[in-house]
C-alpha cells in the first residue's frame, strides 16, 4: 500500500502517507495492557467511568418499541433502586456513589422516535446507525436520506458505516466522499461516528489508512465495528486507531474520539481498554466525550463488579439483566 491521494471539497488534494503497522508488534503491545492489575479504588473509578462511556445498544431485526423503552429505562437508571438500597444496607459505612446514566443509547433510525420520547430531559444521547447499516451497500442518496431521517427524528449522534467494498477495491475517493457527504447531512450539532468495520478490512495497515481517511473527512469519532461481523472490536485494532488519533492530533490539533464496539462483554475487558487509552492518548481521552464503548451486555457486568467492589459479594446475575 503506498501513499493515498484524495481530492477534498474545494478542489484541493491531500495525501495520506503510508504508515505501516507490524501486526505481531501491535498485538504484543496491546497484550501488555491486559496484564495491568487494576485494584481497589482505581478499579471502582474505572468501572464508573466505563458506565458513563457506554453506548447501550440494541440493533436487532426484532427490535420493537417495547424493547427500546426498556433499554432507555436501563440507560437512565442502570440499577433498580431497590437493589441500591440493599447494597446500602449491606455496607452502611461506605459512601455509596450514585450509579451514573450511560452516555447514549444506540438504535436503528426507526426506533429513534421511541428513544426521544423515553429519554427527554435526561441528557442521554441518542445514537442511530444510519447509512444502510450494517453493509452500507446502497447508493449514497439513499444513505443520506437514511441519515437525514434519523437526524430529523431527533438522533444526536450518527454512527455511519464506510463502504468497505470500495475501500478494498482501492476506491478510497468514494469512501472519503461518502463520509464528507454524511458529515454534511448530519449538520452542525450532530456527532458523526464513522464505523470502519475492521473485521472486514482485515489488515492493520488498512485500519490505519481507513482511520486517517475518516478523520480527514470529518469524523468526530472513529468506531471499530458494527457488531455484525466477527471479529468486532479487539485490543490491537483499537490500539492502531488510538495511535492514529494521537498522530492526527499531533499534526492537526484536532481531538478525535474513539469507540470500540462489539465483543466487549466484561468489566475486565472494559478496564483493559481504559488502561490502553490511559497509556496511549492519556487523560484527555478518559472522558465520555472522547471515548465510548459500543455494547449491550457490558453494562451488567460493570454493575455486578461495582456491587462486588463495595460489598465483597457477588449478586444474582438476574437482577442486572433487565433491559
Amino acid at each position: 500500500m503506498a501513499t493515498v491521494s484524495l481530492k477534498v471539497p474545494g478542489g484541493n488534494k491531500i495525501t495520506i502517507p503510508h504508515y505501516p503497522i507490524d501486526m505481531i508488534g501491535a498485538d504484543e503491545r496491546a497484550g501488555t495492557f491486559t496484564t495491568r492489575s487494576i485494584k481497589k479504588q482505581s478499579k471502582l473509578d474505572a468501572l464508573y467511568l466505563a458506565i458513563e462511556m457506554t453506548d447501550l445498544t440494541t440493533l436487532g431485526g426484532d427490535d420493537t418499541p417495547g424493547k427500546v423503552e426498556q433499554l432507555c429505562g436501563k440507560a437512565i437508571n442502570p440499577v433498580p433502586p431497590q437493589y441500591l438500597e440493599e447494597l446500602r444496607r449491606l455496607v452502611p459505612e461506605k459512601d455509596l456513589r450514585p450509579i451514573p446514566s450511560v452516555a447514549a443509547v444506540c438504535v436503528y433510525p426507526e426506533q429513534v422516535p421511541v428513544a426521544v420520547r423515553c429519554l427527554e430531559g435526561t441528557g442521554i444521547n441518542i445514537a442511530s446507525v444510519a447509512t444502510a447499516f450494517p453493509a452500507g451497500q446502497l447508493p449514497l442518496d439513499i444513505k443520506l436520506r437514511d441519515v437525514k431521517r434519523a437526524v430529523k427524528f431527533g438522533a444526536t449522534e450518527i454512527d455511519m458505516v464506510i463502504d468497505r467494498g470500495a475501500f478494498l477495491r482501492g476506491d478510497y475517493q468514494k469512501v472519503f466522499d461518502e463520509i464528507v457527504a454524511v458529515k454534511e447531512a448530519c449538520g452542525e450539532d450532530v456527532h458523526l461516528k464513522v464505523i470502519l468495520e475492521t473485521g472486514e478490512l482485515k489488515t492493520y495497515d488498512n485500519v490505519r489508512l481507513a482511520s486517517w481517511m475518516a478523520m480527514e473527512a470529518g469524523a468526530d469519532f472513529i468506531k471499530t465495528s458494527t457488531g455484525k461481523v466477527q471479529p468486532a472490536a479487539t485490543m490491537p485494532v483499537t490500539l492502531i486507531m488510538l495511535q492514529a488519533i494521537q498522530d492526527f492530533y499531533e499534526q492537526t490539533g484536532k481531538k478525535i474520539g474513539m469507540k470500540p464496539a462489539g465483543g466487549i462483554r466484561t468489566a475486565k475487558q472494559a478496564i483493559h481498554y481504559l488502561v490502553m487509552v490511559n497509556e496511549t492518548l492519556g487523560s484527555d481521552w478518559l472522558d465520555p466525550h472522547m471515548f465510548r464503548f459500543g455494547a449491550s451486555t457490558l453494562l451488567n457486568d460493570l454493575l455486578r463488579q461495582i456491587f462486588k467492589q463495595y460489598s465483597g459479594q457477588y449478586f444474582y446475575d438476574d437482577i442486572f439483566s433487565l433491559d
Partner: protein
C-alpha cells in the same frame, strides 16, 4: 651447477620477497645440500597479509556458495596439473618414494574435491530453522568467522595442510598460511595452484617463516579472528591462547579428523535471525 631458487611469499595474490630481506635454506632430504631458499617472513609481512586478507574476506564470503565450490574444484584441477612438481618436491626434499609422493598428491586432490562439494551443503546440515514458540520465523545461518591464520610447523603432512586450508575456505573465511621451519618448500607450487585457480587475491596468503618469531603478532592482531593451530607445539599454542584473550580470538587446536564437517564448523559463527510472521 643447479640453480637454487628462493621461493617468494604469496601475499594479496602476488609473489613477493620478504620486506626484511631474510631467507633460510631447506635442504635436500638426508643431505647437506640446499634444496631451496625460503623467505623468512617478518611481522610486517604478516601484517601486510592481514590487510589483504581482511579485504578479501568480504569478497570471498559474499560469493555464492556455488562459486566457492567451483573455485575449490579448480584447485583440485590445478594440483593435478602440477602433480609432477609436487611429487618431485616430496621425493627430493622429504625423501619420499615415488609411490608415497604420488599417494600424497592423490589424497590432497581428493581433499580439495571433498570440500569443493561441501561449500554449498554444510549450511543445510549445520544451519537451522528453529521452531520458536511464538509468531516468528527464526533461522540460524552460518557465516565465516573472518580472517584466519593457519599455522603449520612440525609434523608436516601435505594432506592435513590441504584439509586445513579447505575447511577454512569452505566456511567463507580468508586464510593466511604460515609454513614454519618444519615445512618443506611446498609454498612454491601451492601458491602457484592458488594463483591460477580463480580464487581472488588475498583470500589465501602463504608465508614461510619462524613460528617463534611470529606467534605473538598473530595472537595479538585483532583483525585475525581465529587461528587454526596444526603444529604439535603445545607450549606455543597455550602462550598464544593467553596472548589472544584480550581480543577473544577463536584458538582452534589441531584437528582430529580429516575431511569432515566439524573442521569447517571450527571457523564459523552462527547468526540467528528473528522476524515476526504477520500481515
Amino acid at each position: 651447477m643447479k640453480v637454487v631458487k628462493t621461493i617468494k611469499l604469496y601475499i594479496g595474490g602476488a609473489f613477493v620477497r620478504t620486506e626484511s630481506g631474510r631467507s633460510y635454506s631447506f635442504n635436500v632430504a638426508g643431505k647437506d645440500t640446499q634444496f631451496a631458499r625460503l623467505c623468512q617472513a617478518s611481522k610486517k609481512d604478516f601484517r601486510n597479509a592481514v590487510e589483504s586478507s581482511k579485504g578479501a574476506f568480504k569478497s570471498w564470503s559474499s560469493k555464492s556458495a556455488y562459486n566457492r565450490s567451483q573455485i575449490l574444484y579448480r584447485m583440485a584441477e590445478m594440483t593435478e596439473g602440477k602433480r609432477h612438481e609436487f611429487e618431485s618436491l616430496f621425493m627430493d626434499s622429504l625423501g619420499k618414494t615415488e609411490g608415497e609422493a604420488k599417494e600424497m598428491v592423490d589424497k590432497a586432490i581428493d581433499t580439495f574435491v571433498y570440500y569443493a562439494g561441501f561449500c554449498d551443503k554444510f549450511h543445510q546440515i549445520a544451519g537451522s530453522i528453529n521452531p520458536v514458540s511464538g509468531p516468528f520465523h527464526n533461522f540460524t545461518h552460518i557465516e565465516g568467522v573472518g580472517v584466519t591464520t593457519l599455522i603449520e610447523d612440525d609434523k608436516f603432512d601435505f594432506n592435513s595442510l590441504i584439509d586445513s586450508i579447505c575447511s577454512i575456505l569452505t566456511g567463507g573465511n580468508s586464510v593466511i598460511v604460515l609454513l614454519g621451519e618444519g615445512c618443506p618448500a611446498v609454498l612454491g607450487p601451492l601458491a602457484e595452484v592458488m594463483a591460477t585457480s580463480d580464487v581472488p587475491g588475498g583470500v589465501i596468503n602463504i608465508l614461510s617463516g619462524h613460528l617463534d618469531e611470529l606467534s605473538e603478532v598473530i595472537a595479538e592482531h585483532r583483525e585475525v579472528r581465529s587461528v587454526s593451530f596444526q603444529s604439535t607445539r603445545d607450549d606455543v599454542f597455550q602462550a598464544m591462547k593467553l596472548k589472544s584473550t584480550d581480543n577473544m580470538k577463536r584458538m582452534v587446536p589441531r584437528h582430529k579428523n580429516e575431511k569432515c564437517l566439524e573442521n569447517i564448523l571450527s571457523f564459523v559463527e552462527y547468526k540467528t535471525v528473528w522476524h515476526p510472521v504477520g500481515y
